[in-house]
Amino acid sequence: MALASAQLPPHRHRVYGLTVATWIPFPELETAPADARVDAVFRLAEVPAQLEQPQFTGARFQAAPGRLLAWIPGVARYLAVDGEEILIQPDAGAIDSDVRALLLCSPMGGLLHQRGVLPLHASVIATERGAVAFMGHSGRGKSTLAAHFRQRGYRVLADDIAVVSFDAQGRPQVAPGLPQFKLWPNSVKELGGEAESLPRLRPSMEKRTLMFPEAFHREPLPLARVYALEADRLRDDISLTVQPVLDRVRLLLEHTYRAQYLSGLGLQKAHFQSLSRVAAAVPVVRVVRPENDRFHLEALGEQLIADFSR
């Protein structure tokens, strides 16, 4: 993509493998050099209430080829365009940190899909064997587990979105996200911290942020292993099961970040091809822990280390 530097906004950040130029500075993101090649632009602009020809309309999003519109009333409307830019129209009275926090979720997910990379809903740590990703639905402990591994001395690539692409040899690799965990108070407590001492992700929410610049892994890493985190009330122990290839594809699809955008974006086929390439190259392991009030971090951590260190 050729983005003429004269028209570009002044601030440069690195996030999810991209260098972005933006009018709004993002204190939660790392700074990129002024001369770095820009991949995408965030800019304030008028964002339409609807797409002209939406292929899919959800409750708070619309998708069409090259367009992903997402909005939260009271915060902002966002439009991701052709994988090159995110247009932002904040609502009157919106809080800046809310506008930034939400941009890095759904609109970013749309932009990543448009760029043809594979965003998984996963946290990622760096190990001697390469990047290890923990996929899971909300509340299954992705962030908590990655934060636990940071306490054990591991470096962390991402908390929420694992951006998978293919290197020159066609091997799956993961790009660094941003050096911030998003944690609920119960997770902070289980990690041995106090939620009150951490800033809120959004002023009117309990969810907290924990920055980890000292443990941030800033380079892409080959993807070595993927875990799908699940919990089951009927189990008393933790089990790890390597999945056959077809089940890997199903799990990777289930944990694709914002997979509900794909049909409207017209990207289902390309996405399935990416999933198949990852499934052929990387083991996917189902991790089922007992479902109760705790994440069983110590025991889970030990078993995972034994598994990915083999």
């Binding site: 409750a59 759904s106 909300s138 997770s187 309990e206 009330r233």
Partner: protein
Amino acid sequence: MKGIVWLASYPKSGNTWFRAFLANLLHGGEQPVDINQFGVGNFGARWQYERALGWETSELTPAELAATRLAVQEVFAREKDPTFKVHEAFTDPRDGRPLFSGPATRAVLYFLRNPLDVAVSFSHHRGKDLDNTIRRMGNPETVLAANWEDSDLQLPQPMGTWSHHVRSWVDAPGLPVHVLRYEDMLARPQEVFTAACRFAGFPDEPARVERALAHSSFDALRQQEQAKGFREAVGKRTFFRKGQAGSWREVLSPAQVSAIVQTHGEVMRRFGYLNADGSLPEN
């Protein structure tokens, strides 16, 4: 068919029994369907809600999230044969706001059970004593899964009092609601389940209904739970416990009966759980 069929009820009123029946009706073969594979899930399951929402529920404030409910339902309504179990009242007891979209709704099956028996069963289900449960049934602020900010897998579900719950659904203007009394489901299953299927647009051939009833009988469900457990049970307590009508007579004290009748007498009378003169039926 388009439009959502809601299986709506206060907890412990026959909703899960009907889901077991429906799974066997729609997908059953020679063997009963696995009780852990009913297929019809709770509308409040977060991962499913997020699919229609396009955002994660944990990224939104409670107020932002509450404002998305009807729009999310309208997305599901466009899918094929959407059916959900729900424990919310039709209207939020705290502000009267509708929690369900009329245009997204194809039919409502409302499951109703004598609140004296609900108190006994709900108390066992929650692992809380009867007085605590009776207070909860009379508390307008009652919300299921209210602690969602601690990463609960379900969204908060406002229920209000037992009486509010019943009235909110059966008296909702213009809503296509069919009421099933648990006691009638037990006494005349073939007739009562067939009528419900007809109302909701589910298959209603007599032989098919009969087989689904056999595969979802209380004994069949309890046997499965004993053999392999039931994911919807809370803690280690049995979910399919008695499945009877009238067990309150052996369990509730006169003071507990009187507390329930005092709070819910009007709705009880309306549905035959109390005689016109306010006395309790003999059986």
